[in-house]
């Protein structure tokens, strides 16, 4: 086989490998439970409840639950201004007309109840994510906040590992790294 052909085949092989590796990397990154999105204006640290719950929207308007609700009703939300940064959307809220069309096929489907349920779920997830984002700015999580609250409540009395584990309703081996001043309770 001529040398030039060998080189071409090698280049094609390397290019294909890199391409598929990048695709694999992108897919695996999407399925990580903890997703970090770097926005142009702000950083969002959000913990996903599971794969496929979040959708990244680049270069579009930030979609909040309220915007989605307006969009599902065919209205343009006044709060939805086009801004070029990454935003997170939660479970997509279906359009009311689409639900009505589906109801023709499935008589048990009540568009109002589906829409209400989607809105409740979406808003609760958005509020939970906002809380996590706010705590993450101080390097905290809900678990860490709970531990710190326990220490504040019990002051000036110190706590032992077992007491802390009991109060946290957790196993003692989950309470680690206290000697270094870092409490690891994320796994709880």
């Amino acid at each position: 086989m001529p040398r030039a052909v060998k080189h071409i085949l090698l280049i094609v092989y390397v290019a294909a490998t890199v391409y598929f590796d990048l695709r694999l990397l992108r897919n695996s990154r999407n399925s990580l439970r903890a997703l970090v999105f770097r926005g142009m204006r702000r950083q969002l640290w959000l913990i996903s409840p599971g794969p496929g719950c979040f959708r990244r929207v680049g270069g579009q308007m930030p979609l909040t639950a309220a915007c989605l609700l307006d969009r599902s009703r065919g209205k343009k939300s006044p709060s939805a201004t086009p801004e070029n940064y990454l935003a997170i959307t939660f479970h997509p809220i279906p359009k009311y007309e689409r639900l009505q069309r589906m109801a023709e096929r499935y008589p048990s489907l009540d568009p109002d109840s589906i829409l209400t349920n989607c809105i409740v779920q979406s808003i609760s997830e958005e509020v939970a994510a906002a809380k996590k984002e706010m705590l993450a700015r101080d390097g905290l999580s809900e678990g860490r906040l709970h531990v710190l609250a326990l220490f504040l409540e019990r002051r000036p009395q110190p706590l032992s590992h077992s007491e802390l584990a009991y109060l946290m309703d957790s196993a003692i081996w989950n309470i680690t790294s206290l000697w270094t001043g870092e409490v690891v309770v994320d796994a709880m």
């Binding site: 409740v120 509020v127 906002a130 706010m134 705590l135 101080d138 905290l140 906040l145 710190l148 609250a149 220490f151 504040l152 002051r155 000036p156 009395q157 110190p158 706590l159 032992s160 590992h161 077992s162 802390l164 206290l178 000697w179 001043g181 409490v183």
Partner: protein, 68 residues
């Protein structure tokens, strides 16, 4: 955080917040609660009560949904 050995049992470590830690945690807590107040402040007390009642009503239907 500070860690000290228990006077009674040497194997037990006791952990408490230092004064600086207490100050830091109190700052974080007051900031956190202020944020929370601004989030829930858009609802009046009676609206909050109604919201909770409605959500509890929805929650009561959850066993039937799970069993379906």
């Amino acid at each position: 955080m500070q860690c000290e050995d228990s006077a009674e049992y040497r194997r037990i470590s006791l952990i408490s917040l230092t004064t600086a830690g207490e100050r830091l945690v109190e700052d974080i807590f007051s900031k956190y609660f202020a944020h929370f107040a601004s989030l829930m402040g858009v609802l009046t007390p009676s609206e909050r009560k109604n919201l909770v009642a409605l959500l509890m009503k929805m929650h009561a239907g959850l066993p039937a949904f799970r069993g379906a």
